[in-house]
């Protein structure tokens, strides 16, 4: 009977199912019955989880068939997509471009993988450096690149094109601090004892655990913090009294020239330095426009000039756009959201609402009247 008990205790202990008392009982058993120890040693290796095979052709082929089935099932799929908060999306639009999305996503993810590998590698090597030499971890995206990264605390960051995210080795010790230039979507892991703070050029954003988007490109006019879920507090640099508490569905808009205003507060115009606004939604499918870059959409705001639009095109397509004519640069196009197409397709679309010509030489685009 001792043996029966031994098998029960050993199996439970192997898979962390045994209570403290049971572990103690097993140890006593082994003490008193040395003959069991040998078996215990061999069987204890059974407990460790086996690694999965690296590649499984059968599963890969099954996936291809599975995708084909989804495509064939399109009509069926439309009605079944469940709207999620304010983020419900029109399915017919997406289905028509699904094949395109898959290929896009595949190429996009390969870029991410490479970036992640580079990043991990850097991180490892920075840890090997002597203790007093603190090297920050850094993730940089080039134009037309995006990347996803998991921070040491489990928070996830999606980095848009032409952006830069850094944090140093002290991340998570007292505070979780990162520096951002450019645009990123954050899904911050809850941890009230270690506040998460994002530093940008003009604002500091304090977070407890939430999902939100930060757009802080230095050559844009505004720094925008758009809150999807949770709560954040946006404080303007060097103006600790100027704080905005955001609720889900709100965004903070801060003028990027606010830093200059502090130095020489002349208030040249009447536009407010910062304000809180509601998030904008796409009229056709009610999706949140502020985070639509993650679906590869390019978003133009109403009243935005062609020059501002060109900045976005430069980041998204890795091109350089020069205006030969200032009047064209100040004109306002109609489009609000464009699907991901080639840069020349987008320019041709824009030509329908604006009068201009363009010449493309490699990555350089010259816009003329």
């Amino acid at each position: 009977m001792i043996e029966e008990r031994f098998w029960l205790l050993l199996s439970k202990k192997s898979f962390s199912e045994a209570s403290d008392d049971e572990v103690r009982e097993l140890n006593e058993l082994l003490q008193n019955h040395p003959d069991l120890r040998d078996t215990e040693e061999v069987l204890s290796v059974l407990a460790s989880q086996s690694p999965l095979p690296e590649k499984n052709d059968e599963a890969e082929q099954a996936f291809e068939r599975h995708i084909q089935k989804i495509k064939d099932d399109d009509d069926n799929l439309k009605g079944l997509i469940i709207p999620h908060n304010s983020d419900s999306r029109a399915s017919n639009k997406r289905i028509s471009s699904r094949a395109k999305q898959w290929t896009l996503a595949l190429s996009f993810m390969s870029v991410i993988l490479v970036l992640l590998l580079v990043f991990r590698h850097n991180k490892v090597s920075s840890e090997q450096v002597t203790k007093d030499k603190v090297q920050p971890s850094k993730l940089i995206t080039k134009p037309a690149q995006k990347a996803q990264l998991q921070l040491p605390d489990g928070s996830v960051v999606w980095l848009n094109a032409s952006s830069n995210l850094t944090y140093d080795k002290d991340f998570g010790k007292d505070l979780r601090e990162v520096n951002l230039t450019g645009e990123a979507f954050f899904d911050v892991a809850k941890d009230a004892t270690h506040p998460f703070i994002i530093h940008t050029k003009v604002v500091d954003i304090k977070v407890l655990g939430t999902q939100f988007n930060v757009k802080a490109y230095p050559n844009d006019a505004y720094t925008e913090t758009s809150l999807i879920r949770g709560s954040v507090e946006v404080t303007i640099k060097n103006r600790s009294n100027d704080k905005q508490h955001l609720s889900p569905g709100q965004k903070s808009v801060v003028r990027n020239d606010i830093a200059d205003e502090v130095a020489s507060p002349k208030m040249s115009d009447t536009k407010p330095l910062y304000l809180t606004r509601a998030l904008t939604h796409d009229e056709t499918d009610n999706s949140v426009i502020e985070t639509s870059w993650m679906q590869g959409k390019l978003v133009f705001h109403e009243g935005e000039t062609f020059r501002e639009v060109a900045l976005k095109l430069e980041r998204a397509y890795g091109v350089h756009i020069t205006f030969a004519d200032d009047e064209v640069a100040q004109a306002q196009p109609f489009y609000s959201t464009l699907p991901t197409e080639t840069i020349s397709q987008i320019l041709d679309d824009l030509k329908e609402s604006l009068q201009f010509n363009y010449k493309m030489t490699g990555n350089n685009i010259l816009i003329t009247k």
Binding site: E3, E4, W7, L8, L10, S11, K12, S14, F15, E17, D38, T39, E41, V42, L43, V45, L46, A47, S48, Q49, S50, P51, L52, P53, N56, E58, A59, E60, A62, F63, R65, H66, K69, I70, D73, L77, L80, I81, I82, P83, H84, D87, R94, Q101, W102, A105, L106, F108, M109, Q148, Q150, G154, V156, W158, F185, D187, Q211, M294, Q295
Partner: protein
């Protein structure tokens, strides 16, 4: 590797960004185990593949709620089980969960990160002992060992009591342990004769 934190990350990528590549990874991670689990219940490989594909179709359709699923692994196995039972119900009047003596394969039974010295004969003996386990016992052992489920989860999945899972695991250990012991004694016997 199928670590909970990796799966969490995939769930988020699919839920928030319709990340099709993450969806593919998730599919590849679970497909073989889910199909083999389904086969053990309904025998037909073809129907099993169909069922697993249907479950993943649901995952894509409801992807926006995917990050709310706490334990995706358990969720997937439960969904597959329920679909299998529904399938059986269509065939018979009522269905109960029975584990058939289909081939329940183990990916790699013996993984030893500490590289302890264990002879090839012993490993063979263990493999044989596992294949000789009664089907239900073998499936329980596989769910705990390879899928990393808790006893409680296996009990719920297989519609058994936790006590039964404990006993079945204990039985598996006993059979494997005895096989190892026997093999070692024979080995020692051969050794002493020479």
């Amino acid at each position: 590797m199928r670590k909970p934190e990796n799966i969490r990350l995939l769930q988020q990528a699919i839920a928030c960004f319709d990340d099709t590549q993450a969806y593919k990874q998730l599919f590849l991670l679970f497909y073989p185990s889910l199909v083999s689990f389904a086969v053990s219940i309904i025998r037909s490989k073809e129907v099993s593949e169909e069922i697993v594909s249907d479950v993943f179709l649901k995952i894509w359709e409801k992807r926006q709620q995917l990050d709310k699923v706490e334990n995706l692994s358990f969720y997937l196995f439960t969904a597959v089980k329920n679909k299998c039972l529904n399938q059986l119900q269509d065939q018979k009047n009522r269905a109960s969960l029975e584990i058939n003596d289909a081939v329940i394969e183990f990916k790699s039974l013996y993984h030893d990160p500490e590289q302890r010295l264990i002879s090839a004969e012993t490993i063979q003996e263990i493999q044989k002992a596992v294949q000789d386990l009664p089907p239900r016992c073998r499936m329980i052992f596989k769910l705990v060992k390879e899928e990393g489920f808790r006893y409680k989860e296996v009990a719920e999945l297989m519609q058994l009591s936790v006590k039964t899972v404990e006993n079945q695991m204990s039985l598996a250990f006993k059979k494997i342990g005895s096989a190892v012991k026997l093999q070692r004694q024979q080995f020692a016997g051969v050794f002493s004769k020479n």
